[in-house]
């Protein structure tokens, strides 16, 4: 009875009417070419939703991708990423050359590079920036990226040299090494014979004046380094009698910033010496960690140098205003050497960690572009057919680690069986924004790389392999499989709690149950807890792995299993694999090197410590009037090339090509 009364006065019905009306409006908008409102701004301002709040404006400190994008506006390095291919292009270094085995590099800086306060940027600024980045006091998380440089790791980890105080001679690595012939010395460590040419003759290159004492120091055989921490050092010495006799009566000298393999040969020339061959090194130098920071300002203000009142930048933009947790506004830096070619007057980096929030801003036209991985799956049907949807393979992989230290996964046949029993193609079709991954490196982003392929989906073979390993799979009457004696309590799939991961976990569980008759229990945990469990190999069976490239080279992925520690997390390590990678990296010929890397990758796939799952797609949107921004594989954009196009005939209709 009362309900009847209420119906006469019903604001609820009004609300319902509005919602229905709005949804039907949304329906009618389906025919539009772009997603949401497209009104090009009258000013040259780009409003970009950048994701999480930046930790800091100091490029040496933070390691995140949102920060990386901000640093690309504010700071420049020796080289910059190409907007499409991400290969290194000249920035503050006009040109460079490398020695015959890619273990030493010389960079020639442009003479017109200036800080945002007008002072010139010179070679010493780079030497300072890299030494600072490596200093133990700064404790930069990215410092490991510079470990290829000579004595960089030693300096960063507070190691010491061993010196004979009487003769001033240092104990050398080769004095201690068990087998001196084990590794070929890179050119950068060799003492050059008189007149021996380290670099290929390049007549157009300006000749470096004279050999410096520092260069000679770099070219001397590697010195022995020991841990700076006394306890760790004593332990290491006690374990090695040869070492014991070598250090007796000698003094320990801390490795200092001056020992790191970077030298300002003159004001506009930098020489970087590595402790190994690294053909990918120049590409790595575009990374945020290697961008140049202002010595004077940092020494004056300490950790507060990044505050808007103090900060001095080296890139195409400078800080205008910073409202933490809301937005960072950067404006054109008139002192920038290439200021005339910078297309934008300002960039507003919006902070938002919530995908629908970012997409809402984009739809109503309050943001011009959003970060990668932002279009929610549920929106894909609507957004993907639009001409402003950005798709492309990302230099990031999702894979499953197997703990090879514990049974039953210490058996290669069992590992192979689990890999073959998972249908990646169907899975990635269901995920809709990913591509199946059959090897360990993402497919199609490294031009000319002869990528190997791992085993495909083959449930028949998988059951056979399991049977050979002693876990016979039998077919029940109803057609399903069961594997009675498989120790299900010895395995589970561990992952961090996130809806996308849960989808994978459930799919995986269903596939393995369907094809092998094994129900692997699922175990989800909070992200930081999960990382801890995984790195200590405290998980049973399977754990989720996700990795994004540090630089555009297959080695950034293959490097994961180069050492037993670090990101490895599987317990699998093989000297032969590491040797293959070493051999590849000391090979000058790019094709030959790629072939060797591919051989190493194949070796890894054969050992199967992993089940490759998928490569992500970049999955973001940008308004058609935003030009010069491409869906590249790292979601990093050299902002100086981005501009606002008001003439609709020159807009991007569809995904701009990544080919040059």
């Amino acid at each position: 009875m009362r309900a009847v009364k209420i119906r006469r006065f019903s604001p609820g019905l009004l609300l319902l009417a509005i919602i229905v009306a709005s949804i039907s409006c949304g329906r009618s908008a389906k025919n539009e070419v772009f997603f949401g409102r497209v009104v090009p701004p009258q000013t040259n301002i780009l409003r970009y939703v950048n994701g999480d709040e930046p930790e800091s404006l100091d490029p040496s400190v933070s390691s995140g991708q949102p920060e990386g994008r901000i640093y690309m506006a504010l700071y420049e390095g020796l080289v910059e990423y190409h907007p499409k291919t991400l290969m290194p292009i000249p920035a503050i270094a006009e040109h460079w050359h490398e020695n015959d085995d890619s273990s030493e590099f010389v960079f020639h800086l442009r003479h017109n590079a200036r800080w945002s306060n007008g002072e010139p940027i010179t070679a010493n600024d780079f030497v300072y920036s890299i030494r600072r980045g490596l200093s133990p006091e700064l404790a930069a998380r990215n410092a490991y990226l510079a470990y290829y440089m000579k004595y960089a790791e030693a300096y960063n980890s507070g190691a010491v040299f061993v010196r004979d105080s009487k003769t001033n001679q240092f104990v050398l690595e080769k004095d201690i090494a068990g087998n001196p012939a084990q590794k070929t010395q890179p050119l950068s460590e060799r003492v050059l014979a008189h007149g021996e040419a380290e670099y290929k003759p390049a007549p157009e290159e300006p000749k470096i004046a004279d050999d410096t004492p520092f260069h000679q120091f770099m070219h001397s055989p590697g010195r022995l380094t020991l841990p700076g921490d006394e306890k760790a050092r004593s332990k290491q010495i006690a374990q090695n009698p040869k070492l014991q006799s070598a250090v007796v009566g000698k003094e320990f000298v801390p490795v200092s910033a001056d020992d790191v393999g970077i030298e300002a040969v003159d004001d506009y020339t930098i020489r970087i010496s590595l402790s190994q061959s690294a053909p990918f090194f120049v590409g790595l130098l575009a990374h945020q960690f290697f961008r140049v920071v202002p010595q004077k300002v940092i020494e004056q203000y300490g950790a507060r140098w990044t505050e808007p009142d103090h900060i001095v930048t080296s890139g195409a933009f400078r800080v205008k205003a910073w409202k933490p947790y809301s937005e960072l506004v950067v404006e054109r830096n008139p002192m920038y050497w290439d200021a005339a070619n910078v297309g934008l007057d300002e960039i507003h980096f919006y902070q938002s960690s919530d995908n629908p929030t970012a997409m809402n801003l984009y739809k109503v036209g309050e943001a011009d572009a959003v970060l990668n991985h932002t279009v929610p799956i549920a929106w894909l049907d609507v957004v993907r057919p639009k001409k402003d949807y950005m798709d492309g393979t990302e230099a990031a992989i999702v894979y499953i680690l197997m703990n090879v230290t514990r049974p039953p996964l210490n058996d290669l046949r069992v590992r192979k069986a689990f890999n073959m029993a998972f249908d990646k193609v169907t899975y990635s079709q269901s995920r809709r924004i990913t591509k199946p991954l059959s090897a360990f490196t993402p497919e199609g982003i490294f031009a000319g790389y002869p990528q190997p392929r791992g085993d495909g989906f083959d449930p028949e073979q998988a059951r056979k392999l399991l049977g050979e390993a002693g876990f016979s799979v039998t077919k029940r009457e109803d057609g399903s499989y069961e594997c009675k004696n498989f120790p299900v309590d010895q395995v589970d799939f561990t992952f961090n709690t996130q809806s996308a991961n849960k989808i994978l976990a459930e799919f995986l569980q269903a596939q393995w149950k369907q094809n092998l008759g094994i129900t692997v229990p699922l175990r989800s945990m909070e992200f930081k807890t999960f990382l801890n469990v995984r790195s200590k190999l405290e998980y049973k069976g399977f754990a989720l792995g996700i990795f994004g490239a540090d630089y555009m080279d297959p080695f950034t992925f293959l490097n994961i299993f180069y050492t037993p520690g670090g990101d490895n997390g599987s317990g699998w390590w093989d000297q032969k694999y590491a040797d293959l990678l070493d051999e590849a990296n000391s090979n000058l010929d790019k094709h030959k090197r790629y072939e060797l890397l591919a051989k190493a990758e194949k070796y890894l796939l054969d050992a199967q410590p992993i089940v490759p799952i998928e490569t992500s797609s970049v999955n973001w949107v940008k308004k058609p009037y935003v030009k010069g921004m491409y869906p590249n594989a790292a979601a990093l954009y050299p902002w100086k090339f981005v501009y606002i196009e008001r003439e609709p005939s020159r807009w991007d209709y569809g995904i701009p090509s990544l080919n040059n």
Binding site: G26, Y325, K363, K528
Partner: protein
């Protein structure tokens, strides 16, 4: 009265210390670190980081240092995640945002809630009563993470009237949707409280006396019954305002507001110990002082209460 206030303030201090200590311990028990990310950090770098932030020291030294900073200087230290930003500055910066939204939401809730509740009570069992109570029921049962997106869908994404998110200072059009979203549940609750309180008062003896004295209906309602009828609303205001002031996680995340709630959740996820402790301590202080204010307000509103 003064003795009561002083006594309450004195109890506050040990309470806060206990809260801080418990928080400190809980952060420590949580696995993971502020510097752990998807990529594993080499041990040498981890050691550098631990040294830089004093995490290599024994726990009692770390605890002592934290407490000393707080007690001696009122300084909660520097955020571990946000290099070089002091916790005090972060709170000072984000509080105004949360407080603006919170106070506006509460004012809106109070105005609408009290009016609707009073009308419902005065016209008990009328169509107005049923309608408003039905709406209030709806308001209580729709959580703000549902209400918010619906409002955004209708007023931003479809009608393009209001911005869907982000902070643009106050006053601006950006505050309208978050304030409405946040106030919804409080509005409904206050309406119900007011109605219940008013109904009780309207039946009481002193209202009958007032009526029999020949007071006008307006005087009876405004001067006598409203004052007594609002008591439940007042006691509700204390904790409600404390939570509104210190930020509401859901609404701030939904509308990307740089408020305290947003920082709080992020700090917990980041294991940013000084920031977590700072915000927890701040919320505790706010909550305790709001409760004290409510108790004082009681004494003024109800002549029967004396401390």
């Amino acid at each position: 009265m003064l003795r009561f206030i002083v006594r309450r303030l004195l109890i506050t201090i040990p309470t806060i210390l206990v809260v801080i200590t418990l928080t400190w311990g809980l952060v420590r028990l949580a696995p993971g670190n502020f510097y752990s990310g998807e990529k594993k950090i080499p041990p040498a770098i981890e050691k550098n980081i631990r040294q830089k932030y004093g995490l290599d020291k024994p726990w009692y030294q770390q605890y002592g240092r934290t407490m000393w900073g707080i007690l001696r200087y009122g300084d909660f230290g520097t955020s571990l995640k946000y290099e070089g930003q002091s916790v005090n500055a972060i709170i000072a910066r984000s509080l105004p945002v949360s407080a603006t939204i919170g106070i506006l939401a509460y004012l809106l809730a109070l105005i609408v809630g009290v009016s609707v509740g009073s009308v419902a009570a005065l016209k008990q069992n009328s169509r107005w009563d049923y309608a408003s109570m039905a709406l209030a029921m709806l308001g209580i049962s729709i959580p703000n993470f549902v209400l918010g997106p619906i409002l955004v869908l209708v007023f931003s994404l479809t009608l393009y009237w209001l911005p869907p998110s982000r902070w643009a200072g106050f006053p601006s059009r950006n505050v309208i949707l978050p304030v409405i979203t946040l106030s919804g549940i409080y509005m409904a609750y206050i309406a119900r409280l007011t109605r219940a309180g008013m109904l009780e008062v309207l039946r009481s003896d002193y209202i009958r006396t007032a009526r029999s004295k020949g007071l006008s209906e307006k005087d009876v309602v405004v001067r006598h019954s409203l004052r007594g009828g609002l008591m439940p609303v007042v006691s509700y205001t204390g904790p409600a305002l404390a939570f509104l002031l210190t930020g509401t996680v859901v609404v701030e995340r939904l509308f990307a507001l740089p408020g305290l709630g947003n920082y709080f959740i992020q700090a917990a996820l980041n294991r940013d110990e000084p920031l977590i402790i700072g915000i927890v301590a701040f919320i505790a202080v706010t909550l305790l002082s709001m409760n004290l204010l409510v108790d004082i307000a009681y004494a003024y509103l109800d002549p029967r209460i004396r401390y």
